[in-house]
């Protein structure tokens, strides 16, 4: 039971991170980003290549990987998303799906479909009250918590407030001297780094394959839905809850029920409380 919950919290913190990245882009630029997980998958593979191929230490490879993640997101935002942002919402969502496909294909072409494992310095485990806890699990949950707190603090800074203003209305903030370009670039850059962390944690605790992105993307969206898409805390708690629920279902119902939990969670939450467990009600476009 406790073992299941602990591994659930670990997987849940990856979902939380993905949900945080999704919510960050959505809050700032109002784009549900279906390419979010792939934007972390490519840099995670780069980290693997740096450690395994170039024999770099983890402490050096990870910052390089984060920079690659940031650069990739900024480039995608600039070249694929921003030119069509003025057109309509529909096109932007589809463009993120196209970006997803392109990055995934590139990862497959460069690294193949063979599963990899990122070597990390957090091997080993310790025992608390009879429960074995791996350091890797502790690192995952701590990273998720740190990113959440960081984002809450960030949204209180002037740039963070500008971001939320731009999400509500792209015209008025500009009249007040807010650079919409800076806001977009910053949110995508941050989200790219967070997605990289999510894929990195998954890649060093379990395995890294070209399929990790799509799996984590759906979990991230489910977690964000649970959290209502507007709340940072909600997205974080939603991810943890999803991870724990999945692991408990996998252990006590059947292995195959694990996948069903995510969809079930979406249907139930949207039916009972459509704004998510932590969301605010809002009607747009009057």
């Amino acid at each position: 039971m406790w073992q299941q919950i602990i591994s659930g919290l670990q997987a849940g913190s990856w979902y939380s991170l993905m949900a945080l990245a999704i919510v960050l882009v959505l809050k700032a630029t109002d784009v549900p980003n279906f390419a979010m997980a792939e934007l972390g998958l490519f840099p995670a593979f780069c980290i693997w290549a740096l450690i395994d191929g170039a024999n770099l230490s983890w402490w050096l490879a990870v910052p390089i990987g984060l920079l690659i993640g940031i650069a990739l997101s900024v480039v995608v935002e600039r070249t694929a998303i921003r030119p069509i942002l003025a057109e309509n919402h529909f096109a932007t969502v589809l463009m993120t799906i196209a970006v997803f496909v392109v990055i995934n294909a590139i990862v497959q072409l460069v690294w193949g479909s063979e599963p990899r494992k990122i070597d990390s310095p957090f091997a080993g485990s310790f025992t608390v009250a009879g429960q074995v806890v791996a350091y890797e699990q502790l690192v995952s949950v701590a990273a998720g918590l740190a990113v959440m707190v960081g984002l809450i603090l960030f949204f209180r800074t002037p740039l963070g407030v500008q971001m939320q203003a731009v999400a509500e209305d792209r015209v008025t903030p500009r009249l007040l001297g807010v650079s919409v370009t800076t806001v977009f670039r910053t949110s995508w850059a941050l989200a790219g780094a967070i997605a990289t962390i999510a894929l990195l944690l998954q890649g060093q605790a379990s395995l890294l394959t070209d399929q990790n992105g799509s799996g984590l993307l759906i979990k991230g969206f489910v977690a964000a839905t649970l959290g209502g898409f507007s709340s940072i805390t909600g997205a974080f708690v939603g991810g943890l809850a999803l991870g724990v629920a999945e692991n408990l279902a996998g252990a006590y119902i059947s292995t195959s029920s694990k996948t069903a939990i995510a969809l079930l969670a979406i249907v139930v939450v949207l039916s009972i409380k459509p704004q998510g467990l932590f969301g605010r009600h809002q009607v747009r476009e009057v």
């Binding site: 549900p32 279906f34 694929a80 030119p83 069509i84 057109e87 309509n88 919402h89 529909f90 096109a91 969502v93 589809l94 463009m95 799906i97 196209a98 970006v99 997803f100 496909v101 392109v102 995934n104 294909a105 590139i106 497959q108 072409l109 799509s214 759906i218 969206f221 489910v222 839905t225 195959s256 996948t259 069903a260 995510a262 969809l263 979406i266 249907v267 939450v269 949207l270 039916s271 459509p274 009607v283 747009r284 476009e285 009057v286």
Partner: protein, 338 residues
């Protein structure tokens, strides 16, 4: 005098009607005109276009993003195959499979259509992923990973290839007629009201939720029927046929073709089937190609290939009496998916 200005003149109408008649005759005589391989490709075009017509309803007209068409195709394919194996007649099995797909559509859409557009995108994406798992696990019906063979439908007096073609052609024609009809009657108008002015819709007596849900159920039904046909083309079903790759092909069908036009899915289907044939041995390069095509189509041709005649016409100095655009006209996607 440019060619388009006289298009509404009656000689041109007659020529157009004659052209349509000739095209219909060619399609009907196709099994005698081309080799079985080309005929098979033509079947795939019809099936893909039929599934794409479902997307015209939900994405083009109601402005909702649905990512589940590959899943509905799977439901339709497996359900039809299973029912036919139980001794059902194929048409009855196919319609039942369509209804099952529509039921799934309502279950997924019920919560999501109450909310902003992208909730449906997420719920349908999750559904499509879940369906792959179901196809793998439900071994008694689907044969699991190993797959299941499809019994070919043979029409009296026609060989297997010909039967498959007439089946695909017939279903595609009926679906096209139904979708055109829907575009012209109240439902089509309600869908566009919901797409363009969702918050104002209730004041016109239109329930956005019910309208969106109906569109989604119809779209799922068409997807299920297309799946029944797809099974006929494939003759052997395995779960991975219906994965992300198929979804991406449908997005290309819908958006390269033009999601606001009934002709769009047919144009898109031709492109996808030809591409699939050319690139089938290239693995990941094929996916890369698909992704780039989708991105370029969205960036440079947001209303798809089917919008090109309208665009050409719009570029000329105002013609005296422009031909009314087919069914819905260009999808004004502004405000879609809000």
């Amino acid at each position: 005098m440019t060619p388009f200005a006289v298009f509404s003149g009656s000689p041109w109408r007659i020529a157009g009607a004659a052209g349509a008649l000739a095209a219909a005759l060619v399609l009907l005589a196709l099994p005698g005109l081309v080799n079985p391989y080309l005929l098979f490709q033509a079947c795939l075009v019809m099936v893909t276009a039929t599934a794409g017509l479902g997307l015209v309803l939900i994405m083009g007209w109601s402005g909702q993003i649905a990512l589940s068409q590959a899943g509905f195709l799977g439901v339709g394919a497996y359900a039809t195959t299973y029912l036919v194996a139980q001794g059902w007649a194929w048409p009855l099995a196919a319609v039942t499979a369509g209804l099952i797909a529509a039921l799934f559509g309502v279950l997924i859409g019920l919560p999501a259509t109450r909310l902003r557009g992208f909730y449906l995108a997420i719920a349908t994406l999750a559904f499509a992923e879940l369906m792959i798992r179901v196809f793998v696990e439900a071994t008694p019906i689907t044969g699991g990973i190993a797959g299941t063979a499809v019994e070919a439908v043979v029409l009296p007096g026609i060989d297997v290839d010909g039967s498959r073609w007439y089946l695909c052609l017939g279903v595609a024609a009926v679906t096209t007629a139904v979708v055109i009809r829907i575009g012209r009657v109240g439902l089509g108008r309600r869908l566009r009201v919901v797409r363009d002015a969702e918050i104002a819709a209730p004041s016109l007596g239109v329930s956005p939720m019910r309208t969106k849900l109906l569109a989604f159920a119809l779209s799922a039904f068409i997807g299920g029927i297309a799946g029944a046909l797809y099974a006929q083309c494939l003759s052997y079903l395995t779960p991975e046929i219906f994965d992300m790759g198929l979804l991406i092909e449908f997005l290309i069908v819908a958006f390269l073709g033009g999601v606001g036009y009934v002709t769009g899915p047919f144009l898109g289907a031709v492109v996808v089937v030809v591409l699939r044939d050319l690139l089938q041995d290239l693995g990941s390069w094929q996916r890369l190609g698909y992704g780039l095509i989708l991105a370029l189509a969205i960036a440079f041709l947001p209303r798809g290939l089917a919008s090109l005649p309208d665009r050409l016409r719009a570029r000329r100095p105002a013609p005296p009496a422009p031909e009314p655009p087919p069914v819905s006209g260009p999808a004004d996607l502004t405000g879609a998916a809000r």
